[in-house]
Amino acid sequence: MFSTIKTGLTFAALAGAFLLQPSLQAQDSMKQDGMKQDGMKQDKMQDDKMQHEGMAKSLFTGKFHGKVHATSGRATVYQEGDGKLVLRLTNFKTSNGPDVHVILVATKDAMDDANFLKENTEKLELGKLKGNEGDQNYEIPAGTDLTKFRTVSIYCERFNANFGAAPLEKF
């Protein structure tokens, strides 16, 4: 009884494959793949992790956008082996300016003309911008909630101007 159901199901599957793909040859490879598929079902890959990760893990990344002061490049948050969070800017370029800082803001993204003071956006200081061009790292204070602070902003403190922002997405 059980085997009859099984054969019936197999035939139904084959018939379905035949309908989807008119060539007999394809049907053959379908049968083969059906078997392969079982072995691989919900195959969670974990082994590659060890091969890949040295000491640090990339958690979030995002691309900069900015119009008033053209800003481009990428912001990536890494977690080092000891748990420390580091923000790294790569391929980065913005305009030079006075009193420019790297901050995290508690929004999903920031408009190019965002006014953080007016909008009462929560800010978290990471440090003075080290250079307006090139790769650079900034430490993120321990305990920072990155599910809340989801955007990196290049921010001119003196004029409350957002030079550019990068919304962080899961890596």
């Binding site: 691989m40 890949h52 030079n96």
Partner: protein
């Protein structure tokens, strides 16, 4: 009369200077106009613990086509120059004969869910699993100027499960 005018002139000059110079200095401090022309370049190395690890060179988000597909595709370059593709936070549907391929980002074929004809692609291997982090070696000949997208592709049905367009990291 003459001396009066000249002393008045010099006094007003003094007042102008006394007010003007601090104002100019203040304006300079506030706007730092010379920064418009001066770039400050830095080139910090990656965080110490990343130093020996492979560096990401391209990345892109996977978008589902015929089957819901999500996650990120990143191309890393190891210290010895070999490159590999890593899928992270990855999930797609299981299926028969699913492969990971490099494709051309501008290829019109990518607009369809089922590719008619042949897709110009470079094989990276059979999909190792439909969920989870995984790595695929790139052939040394892989031209990333030509192939700037990653696709999860079912060869049997010419079906595009998902595509990620790569951007410079």
């Amino acid at each position: 009369m003459n001396t009066n005018t000249s002393s008045w002139l010099s006094r007003s000059k003094w007042i102008l200077m006394a007010i003007g110079i601090p104002v100019l200095a203040g304006a300079w401090w506030a706007f730092r106009p010379e920064k418009l022309f001066i770039n400050q370049k830095v080139n910090e190395a990656a965080p110490a613990s990343l130093g020996t690890a492979a560096q990401p060179i391209f990345t892109g988000k996977l978008e589902g086509k015929i089957h819901a597909t999500s996650g990120r595709a990143t191309i890393y370059k190891a210290a010895d120059g070999t490159r590999y593709l890593r899928l992270s936070d990855f999930k797609t549907s299981n299926g028969p004969d699913v492969r990971v391929v490099l494709v051309m980002a501008e290829d019109k074929q990518l607009d369809q869910e089922i590719v008619k004809g042949e897709l110009d692609r470079m094989e990276l291997g059979a999909l190792k699993g439909n969920e989870g982090d995984q790595n695929y070696d790139l052939p040394a000949a892989a031209d990333l100027n030509k192939y700037q997208a990653v696709a999860i592709y079912c060869e049997t049905f010419h079906a595009l499960f998902g595509v990620a367009k790569l951007e410079e990291f």
